[in-house]
């Protein structure tokens, strides 16, 4: 199975416009696609690699792509492991030596292969550190111990799941009314729903905050979930999809003595699944990545979501980049996984709903 997939991938990567011939259009296409891959995955890859760097390696200039650290070596007669350097000796030869100490621009080195030999003094420009790839897993393990990752993760998960369920429910009901029923003021209602798209959250932040405070919801996860549960995008997306359902189906259900609630739940909802899947994926991403609103209403660390928790690494004077990057990777992973597994639904769903 796996081998079949591999050979398929290989044959896909060797596709040419005319079988067996590599034309200039092929070269251009591959170059363009490669550029796309670099643009899309470059930053993510850099983030993942950087999250495995030590704080020193992170601040290094020029930056390195791979997480590199100074190679050290244990030399008999020295309790601490010594830094290994490649040294150009006065006679022109190059040798790997361990550094005992460094004073000013002079370094005292010793040959690790021959520790009994006398130490050599070398100017520091003549030596170059020997580095190796090393992953600083402590970036992950340390904060997972100290930082309440589990709690924040649980909060984020709760907000995302509950908010998505409520969003799907409310939006689909609104969309059902706007798509299936004929009533006076229907278009006005739809226009108002879509009109709210034009109001950015920063404008309504303060009024909504006041409402939430008045309701006593501050520092509760419901304060994050409820205000954004009804999304105009979702209503519009679902309505457009429901409009494509044949009217006959709904009329047939009416003739079949189905109540309006049954038509909604047993006929329209199952047939709207592709659009619901798209909205669910969007909602999960919105909720998981939401920052500004939770930052406003959540002030106690017990109710922090991951995004707000991450903010804690960013102090006023100092930012713990290595922890921040590592936890960012941890935060990205679930959404990335959702994408990997539901990607098929997203593409077909978006194609079906006509949303781009």
């Amino acid at each position: 199975m796996n081998r079949i997939a591999m050979s398929r991938a290989a044959s896909l990567l060797r596709q040419t416009r005319r079988p067996g011939r590599l034309g200039w259009t092929d070269i251009l296409s591959y170059a363009y696609l490669a550029l796309g891959v670099v643009l899309m995955f470059g930053p993510v890859l850099w983030l993942v690699l950087s999250s495995l760097k030590t704080p020193a390696a992170l601040l290094e200039f020029p930056p390195s792509f791979l997480p590199l650290t100074q190679k050290t070596i244990s030399v008999p007669g020295h309790t601490q492991p010594l830094e290994l350097h490649r040294v150009r000796l006065p006679d022109g030869s190059v040798k790997e030596l361990a550094q005992i100490r460094r004073i000013g621009i002079q370094a005292t080195m010793i040959d690790p292969a021959n520790p009994a030999a006398p130490a050599i003094r070398v100017p520091i420009e003549a030596r170059e550190p020997v580095r190796e790839v090393a992953f600083a897993w402590s970036n992950y393990t340390e904060p997972l111990k100290q930082f309440a990752f589990g709690r924040y993760f649980a909060n984020s998960l709760f907000v995302t799941l509950v908010a998505t369920i409520i969003t799907l429910l409310i939006n689909s009901m609104a969309a059902y009314a706007l798509a299936i029923y004929e009533f006076r003021g229907k278009n006005a209602a739809l226009l108002m729903v879509i009109g709210t798209l034009m109001i950015p959250i920063t404008i309504v932040l303060v009024p909504v905050f006041l409402v939430v405070t008045e309701l006593g919801l501050n520092n509760s996860l419901w304060a994050v979930i409820l205000p954004g549960a009804a999304t105009p995008t979702g209503v519009f997306l679902l309505r457009q999809y429901m409009l494509t359902l044949p009217r006959d189906l709904i009329e047939a259900a009416r003739m079949d003595k189905a109540s309006e609630w049954q038509i909604y739940s047993r006929i329209v909802m199952p047939l709207t699944l592709p659009a619901l899947a798209v909205l669910a994926i969007f909602s999960i991403m919105w909720r998981w990545n939401e920052f500004l609103w939770p930052l406003a209403v959540l002030t106690k660390s017990e109710v922090y979501t991951l995004q707000i928790g991450l903010n804690a690494f960013q102090g006023e004077l100092q930012t713990q980049w290595h922890y921040l990057l590592a936890m960012t990777v941890m935060t990205l992973a679930p959404v990335a996984l959702v994408f990997v597994f539901l990607q098929r639904f997203i593409t077909t769903g978006i194609a079906n709903t006509g949303m781009k």
Partner: protein
């Protein structure tokens, strides 16, 4: 099963009047077909009866009860849609059972009824399939099964055969006729195909521009059309019409005076009239007994019969049917005779003039 009484039904969509003053009485167990050209309001009338559209005026009574303001679900009718409207996400069984579940019947009762309907419609082996995996004819039968299983007061069919191919349409037509004979329900059937109307109906309602033109048994409509519209609509190929004046000697004379034809025996008419005669009632004959001559323009040979399309001397088109395989050639001048007993006469307003 129940009778249906429509009184003064009117329906407008905004300024457009789709139905005007429809009065109709459908007896219990009757098979009534609404027929008419597209846009005549026949489908709207059916939807009004179903309760899917509200009437603008008039009353609807089912079984003596006024249901004008009742919702579709409460009227106890079943409808077969042109598109079948099967629920694509449900199996055939669930499709048929859906209405029964909504009626909150006990599970065993539902099962028994669905099985019975499936047996009757030869659907038993497809009960687990989704509608997408069925052929057109099978879907059609599921749609009928969904209606039959509910034991409705009245069955409504909205052009149910128009999505089937010609052969299947004939077969399903026969099945519908035998279904009606078997369960004997009141059925109202909408079609634009007059062959379906003629073969299925106890009574046909001919609609045109939102009005009822004539109601009658198929043969009544064929033999005694009340007006020009019905005369032209029922029968294929359509009836020949020759316009003219009633001249001296009680004959119809065309405006240019080139053709003179007999009127139906016993009719009294003056002024401008239209004479109607069906293609099957015109026959080639010897020159001596000819009523007129036609210049043949096209001959259609169907084997069992032939159709001649030609024109009279004044240019009026005339079609005739001949039982002969090879009655005439294109360009020939053929003497023809009209069957006097089958002549129809219409006045200037289009209404039939009877002896």
């Amino acid at each position: 099963m129940a009778g249906l009484v429509l009184t003064g039904i009117g329906k407008s969509f905004g300024p457009v009047e789709v139905l005007r003053g429809i009065d109709l009485d459908v007896a219990d167990g009757e098979f009534v077909v609404f027929v008419g050209p597209s846009g005549c309001g026949k489908s709207t009338l059916l939807r009004v009866i179903a309760g899917l559209e509200e009437v603008t005026s008039g009353t609807i009574r089912i079984d003596g009860q006024d249901v004008t303001t009742e919702r579709a679900a409460e009227r106890g009718l079943a409808m077969v849609f042109q598109s079948y409207a099967l629920y694509p996400h449900m199996s055939v069984y669930r499709n048929i059972a859906f209405a029964l579940e909504n009626m909150r019947l006990p599970r065993e009762e539902i099962e028994a009824r669905v099985r019975r309907a499936a047996t009757m419609l030869r659907l038993t082996e497809y009960l687990d399939r989704k509608p997408g995996a069925l052929s057109g004819g099978q879907r059609q039968r599921v749609a009928i099964g969904r209606a039959v299983v509910r034991d409705p007061k009245i069955f409504l069919f909205d052009e149910p055969l128009s999505n089937l191919d010609a052969e299947l349409r004939v077969a399903t037509r026969k099945e519908l006729a035998s279904l009606h004979a078997e369960i004997g329900g009141t059925m109202i059937y909408v079609t634009h195909d007059q062959v379906e109307a003629m073969t299925l109906a106890n009574r046909i309602v001919v609609l045109n521009k939102g009005r009822i033109e004539q109601v009658g048994t198929p043969l009544e409509l064929y033999n005694r059309p009340a007006n020009l519209f019905v005369a032209g609509f029922i029968g294929s190929p359509r009836m020949n019409f020759i316009r003219g004046q009633v001249g001296a000697g009680g004959k119809l004379v065309t405006p240019d005076g080139k053709v003179s034809l007999p009127l139906p025996p016993g009719t009294v008419a003056t002024g401008e009239v239209t004479l109607g005669i069906r293609p099957e009632h015109v026959a080639p004959c010897s020159a001596a007994e000819a009523d007129a001559r036609i210049a043949v323009e096209l001959v259609e040979q169907l084997g069992s019969e032939s159709y001649l399309y030609g024109t009279l001397a004044d240019g009026t088109a005339l079609t005739l049917r001949s039982p002969l395989e090879d009655p005439a050639r294109r360009g020939e001048d053929v003497p023809v005779r009209f069957d006097p007993a089958r002549l129809h006469l219409f006045d200037a307003a289009g209404l039939a003039i009877r002896p």
